[in-house]
């Protein structure tokens, strides 16, 4: 972004103003996440930087809130984490299977009423979450699965499939269908062709869809608040309760763990995206 030598002064000024604005916005986006890190190692109970922390005094830092998170008495985080992972894993599997199969059908040029069906399939993503929450609650309550893991898993499959459908159809849009025809002409049956030819090629799209579905389920709080009973508490529910009642440093310890998790997911998603772009031959 170096400016040419002949740039007039006023454009030079504007250019640096523009860079300053951008710098501010990036700071605004990322800085809040980094406030949580140091405060979660606070030795004191207050959510402000103590004088000791400002002096970088080692005594002002401790792991006590992480210990509280794991070993603390009557601590809900263990159960919540277990539930969150179980629900998210099964919801992801359900969403990926249903979504990938549907995306294969949708990408076929023979598919009738494509627009209408696509709109129906991704509707859970475009309808405000609170409305989805009410509707899904009515359904789950009617079939008697309120306050069960299965009920929440079904709810999260509904919310997760649109992401899988979108990412997989996007990957399939650059897919060369002649390779499956080649496989068929060489005597492969459709299932074999899918497993050996199609799936490996669209895998990046499937996995990034799965990541979306996983994160959707793992972070979801609106629908779960309607559905969950005491035994189905999840990390978002515990965070929500904690934030409403008393913002404790233990929550910040949990939040730090969640940020680490999301960083891992981000790295995976980015690597996949680049790989899939390479496969599709998109040059940037």
């Amino acid at each position: 972004m170096a400016l040419p030598k002949y740039t007039e002064t006023r454009y030079r000024i504007w250019h640096y103003t523009y860079l300053a604005i951008c710098g501010f916005v990036f700071f605004f986006l990322i800085a809040p996440l980094f406030v949580i890190f140091p405060l979660s190692f606070n030795a004191e109970e207050f959510l402000v930087f103590s004088d000791g922390m400002k002096r970088l005094d080692p005594d002002a830092f401790s792991l006590r809130w992480y210990e509280d998170m794991i070993y603390g008495t009557k601590n809900p985080w263990g159960l919540a984490a277990k539930n969150s992972f179980i629900i998210a894993v099964f919801a992801t599997i359900g969403a990926v299977v249903l979504g990938t199969v549907a995306a294969l059908g949708l990408s076929s040029r023979h598919m009738p009423y494509k627009g209408l069906i696509m709109a129906t399939l991704i509707s859970p993503m475009i309808v405000p979450l609170i409305i989805s929450g009410v509707a899904i609650f009515f359904f789950i309550a009617k079939i008697g699965l309120a306050a069960t893991h299965l009920g929440i898993i079904i709810a999260h499959i509904i919310l997760g499939t649109p992401f899988v459908v979108i990412t997989v159809t996007a990957t399939l849009s650059g897919f060369d269908h002649s390779v499956t025809r080649a496989a068929a002409s060489l005597g492969s049956d459709p299932v074999n062709t899918f497993m050996k030819i199609t799936l490996p090629l669209i895998l990046p799209g499937v996995i990034s869809g799965a990541l979306f579905a996983f994160v959707t389920s793992f972070d979801e709080v609106v629908v779960v608040l309607f559905l969950a009973g005491l035994d189905n508490t999840t990390i978002p529910i515990q965070m929500w309760t904690g934030l409403r009642e008393q913002l404790s440093p233990t929550i910040l310890a949990v939040a730090t763990c969640l940020i680490v998790l999301s960083t891992l997911i981000l790295v995976t998603a980015e690597l996949l995206r680049r790989r899939s772009e390479r496969i599709r031959g998109i040059q940037r």
Partner: protein
């Protein structure tokens, strides 16, 4: 030559056209069968329940089912003067049946909403009706309380006869049916829902504007920087995007509290005194700041993906033809980014209008939005039909936004990452 001989045949002797159509149909069925499981799943678990929200929101069959004989007898009553003996007799018989099932209390509560004071006189009727003599129900009931001699109470019953009502929708707009069945507005100081609707629109609108103003420059920077720098900066957008909503809300709660870092900073640069730190949380400021940061990635990503496709030579061409950089930007670059602007604004607006968690945590009382009200009626008052009605009103609003968007930009122009 006849047309028969012109047809090309396949090796089986079937005309090619027929054979192709058959294959086409087979492919169609195959494609549809692949989509069918998810389509059925979504329709059963999601589309039908939204329909159920509608029937629930207009459902008013409770009284209809409780007083079947009364409504049958009322069919011939013109509703101007006191109803005839048959209506009284039918009402008494219905009420006795309800009392046996111990459901008479519910009727009293429901009718009390229609006309104040109904519950009291029904309770009185319940106590006295054991001593009633056969026949002559009209006189005996009217004896119990003077309100039974008032035609307005009977009109109130008649009004509950239709199995469907729009009352919940009217309530959502701070209106109700008065005693004559006319639609009237509630008193000025009790119009809470209208305030909430307006506030929701206002917050969604301004958050969209803020996101656009902040998102456009950085999307442009990301799209024009060399890859190795932009990838690094992209993390600043993607990390918040992948981070839990509650984590980001929590960090804003820490930052914006009165002893928080933002206030510390203001004190340090001398903007405010240490003893009168401004309250930045539990009001609209908190809602705006937190929601803008949380929704900003949804603006940047579509903008970025559109800007990435715009060739930098277009701007150079604009400048070489004599435009100043500003003119070249405004006349060449900006119009090309409109699909991205549309997609970003649509996404942010729709997400903001249904927002619930962040306003509930950092918004305080003045930051409550319509979604919070829906959740409140779902979980606290258990008035599910009212929650459904408000949810559907919100949904209608969202669909109108989509429709306008489709007219202006075209829904196919949306680009997501």
């Amino acid at each position: 030559m006849s047309s028969e001989t012109q047809k090309i045949l396949t090796t089986d002797g079937i005309p090619l056209e027929v054979s192709l159509k058959k294959a086409e149909k087979k492919n169609k069925i195959k494609a549809f069968l692949l989509v069918a499981p998810l389509l059925l799943f979504i329709i059963i678990t999601y589309i039908f329940p939204i329909g159920e929200m509608f029937t629930r929101s207009i459902d008013d069959r409770m009284v209809t089912n409780m007083l079947p004989k009364t409504f049958k007898a009322m069919e011939t009553w013109d509703g101007k003067e006191l109803p005839p003996e048959e209506v009284f007799a039918a009402f008494l018989s219905d009420y006795r049946a309800l009392a046996e099932k111990k459901e008479h209390g519910k009727l009293g509560q429901r009718l009390n909403k229609e006309k104040n004071g109904f519950n009291t006189i029904l309770k009185k009727l319940w106590r006295k009706m054991k001593n009633f003599e056969e026949g002559n129900a009209k006189e005996q009931i009217m004896e119990i309380h003077k309100r039974f001699r008032d035609v307005k109470y009977w009109q109130a019953i008649k009004r509950t006869a239709p199995p469907y009502t729009m009352a919940k929708y009217l309530k959502g707009m701070d209106m109700y049916y008065d005693e004559d069945g006319k639609v009237v507005q509630v008193e000025e100081d009790r119009r809470i829902h209208r305030i909430l609707w307006l506030r929701t629109l206002e917050v969604a609108f301004f958050v969209t504007i803020f996101c656009f103003l902040m998102g456009y420059p950085i999307a442009h920077l990301l799209a024009t920087l060399p890859m190795k720098y932009s990838n690094l900066l992209m993390i600043c957008v993607l990390l918040p995007f992948w981070t839990s909503l509650l984590v980001r809300t929590a960090s804003w709660m820490i930052l914006l509290q009165q002893q928080g870092i933002v206030n510390d900073f203001f004190v340090w640069i001398g903007l405010v005194g240490d003893d009168n730190r401004p309250e930045m949380m539990y009001n609209k400021t908190g809602t705006y700041v937190a929601m803008t940061q949380i929704l900003l990635p949804f603006m940047v990503l579509p903008l970025y993906s559109v800007m990435k496709t715009i060739s930098p030579s277009l701007m150079r061409a604009g400048k070489s033809l004599g435009g100043t950089p500003f003119v070249a930007f405004w006349k060449v670059y900006f119009p090309l980014t409109i699909p991205g602007i549309g997609a970003g604004c649509l996404l942010v607006f729709i997400l903001a209008i249904g927002y619930y968690i962040t306003p509930a945590l950092v918004g305080g009382a003045s930051g409550t939005l319509i979604s919070n009200q829906i959740a409140y009626h779902m979980k606290a008052t258990l008035d599910w039909s009212f929650a459904s009605a408000m949810g559907l009103m919100l949904l209608t609003g969202v669909l109108v936004v989509y429709w306008i968007y489709n007219k202006l930009v075209g829904i196919d122009n949306i680009k997501l990452g």
